[in-house]
Symmetry: C2
Subunit: 132 residues, 2 copies
């Protein structure tokens, strides 16, 4: 049986994917894959998602250069959620890994503090420098 057939795709043919950084174990982002995206991810060794807004495959880093090298792929107990352990590439010669389109390390930069969402992670590189 093909490993792709074991994944329980949802009604839209998608599976939720969590990207976690190897080493720090930080959760970087969350997205979806279809079967083709997951196959491509395994083939390339780099994360390829399905962009629901653009309706096409999205090779993470194709515009920003912030590719995700996949070190390990996990599937949960119900076989309907994927966890990628990735090496997150950053910008140019700078060392910091950047997963978020806002130029931050992780997409999860809002923290609930006393009943309001506060921005608690710095912008490492101005998005205008990333997407030009």
């Amino acid at each position: 049986m093909d490993w792709l057939d074991e994944v329980k795709w949802d009604a839209q043919g998608l599976v939720p994917v969590i990207a976690q950084e190897v080493g720090s174990n930080d959760v970087l982002m969350f997205a979806f894959m279809n079967r083709e995206a997951l196959a491509k991810t395994a083939e390339l060794g780099e994360a390829v998602y399905w962009s629901r807004s653009r309706g096409r495959l999205w090779h993470k880093g194709e515009e920003s250069g912030h590719f995700q090298k996949v070190r390990e792929m996990r599937l949960d107990c119900d076989k309907d959620v994927v966890l990628l352990k990735v090496e997150q590439l950053g910008h140019d010669s700078e060392n910091a890994s950047i997963a978020c389109h806002t130029g931050r390390h992780s997409c999860f930069f809002h923290r609930l503090d006393a009943g309001t969402w506060q921005t608690v992670e710095p912008v490492l590189v101005d998005p205008e420098r990333i997407y030009k």
Copy 2:
């Protein structure tokens, strides 16, 4: 503006939620919340999900005793995914934290190895001892 109003609920009124263990930073599980579940989670300081299969609120641990004490709540850049940082309770006097209904630490216990999903995490407590 209420912090719950800032969350971008999907067409079913749900938001995907990732539970990550404080300290180890291990990703433990993935589930959904509706507005009531997220409000309850904040109120109790323990994870309350929306069970899509049972169609009701699911106070994680209500059957197993494996409650999740919420130490921090995060929201992503698009405000449509929640990350909970939790202290995962285990079983009885044993120390190991157990998030998965299979008796394992994490739900993400299948690893893709040479084209097949392998089970790579041990069962810490027999589910028959957990659910009785």
